[in-house]
Amino acid sequence: MKPFSKDILHLENIDEVCNNIITKLKSDVAQKLQRRGAVIGISGGIDSSVCMALSAKAFGPEKVTAIMLPEQDSSDDSKNLALKLANKFNVKTLEENITKALDGFGCYERRDEAIAKVITDFDPKVDKAKIEIKQNIGQNIPAIFSVTVIKPNGEVVSKLLPAKEYLQIVASTNFKQRSRMSMLYYHAERLHCAVIGTPNKHEVEQGFFVKYGDGGADVMPIGHLYKTQVYQLAKHLGVPQEIIDRTPTTDTYTAEQTQEDFFYQMPFKEMDLIWYGWENNYKAEEVGKVMDKSAQEIENIYKSFERKKKTTEYLRMKPIF
């Protein structure tokens, strides 16, 4: 086993890594799935950008269709960056606004109703809202979500979410990812293509995806890569710098929300390394020395990873016969 270091996840042979993914993607789609190209949802985020770039290289840009799927809560940046990316790789784009579909499902109404039960003066017309984990990851207790409402005058109100309201908010916002998945499959079937899934290793293993939503895809080319490795690929493949520099957000709630606030509770660079240490059985002392943390802190983070993986097992399970 290599001694633990901050460079342990650095991909030395990035060209080879990309070529291997491209070769596998080609053979998975053409031979295993018997499809003639790729359909991919692009959000202007780093993961979908890298997957689109890999797809363009694997199938040729003419066999890739990139679909932007905005809705009323999406940021305008997402669309602009997605367009910039597609232009750079000569991939054709389609825009499918899913707001009406989400309205039909009652996505916004059901979500806002649950928020208003917890923060009674919440006005969805003017206030912005998000859910987030406020605990530190090192605490030896499972993470619990709070809802935060930001008033037009900047006042911030935050309350712990009771179980019923938490579940209703999550279930209603999950309509977004599931509607996107439905639309991607519409186009994939229409074009006889495969749907390219964009989750990275953390999203897959920590369960930061929606079952049958963004977790619904035919192939997941970066599902084995750590977030910092995805950034390395992005640079190598020539993904626009603004996308690389953008802080990863969920682009799901009306208030701005980073993925770190929403789910991971720690910066990607640290999380990648500690996750690697955990899954490769590095001793907490050794990892702590490199990460400038005590062995106890690393042990607590290991436990939190273990809990997250166990709690989200249901998301990764296939239907049981």
């Binding site: 207790i141 499972p142 619990i144 979410l161 009771p162 179980a163 809990r307």
Partner: protein, 82 residues
Amino acid sequence: MLTQVETKSKIKDYIINATLSDNKTISDDTLIFETGLLDSMGLLFLIEFLKEEFNVVVNDDELLPENFESVNSIIKFIEGKL
């Protein structure tokens, strides 16, 4: 008002019912998160139970292991709030 023994018994019964566990496997000091008895949804439902049963409201700054890690810590936490 409930005695400490009655409160303890209610909390233990709740955890046993919620987790479908054998009551012999849960002692007053069993670490309920460490042993995997409750996960984050389990903790959320436990917080709801404490509110319904004992009218105890948990604030986010009280979500600490020392307040919830075992039946004994929950009792101590509730007593401090009542």
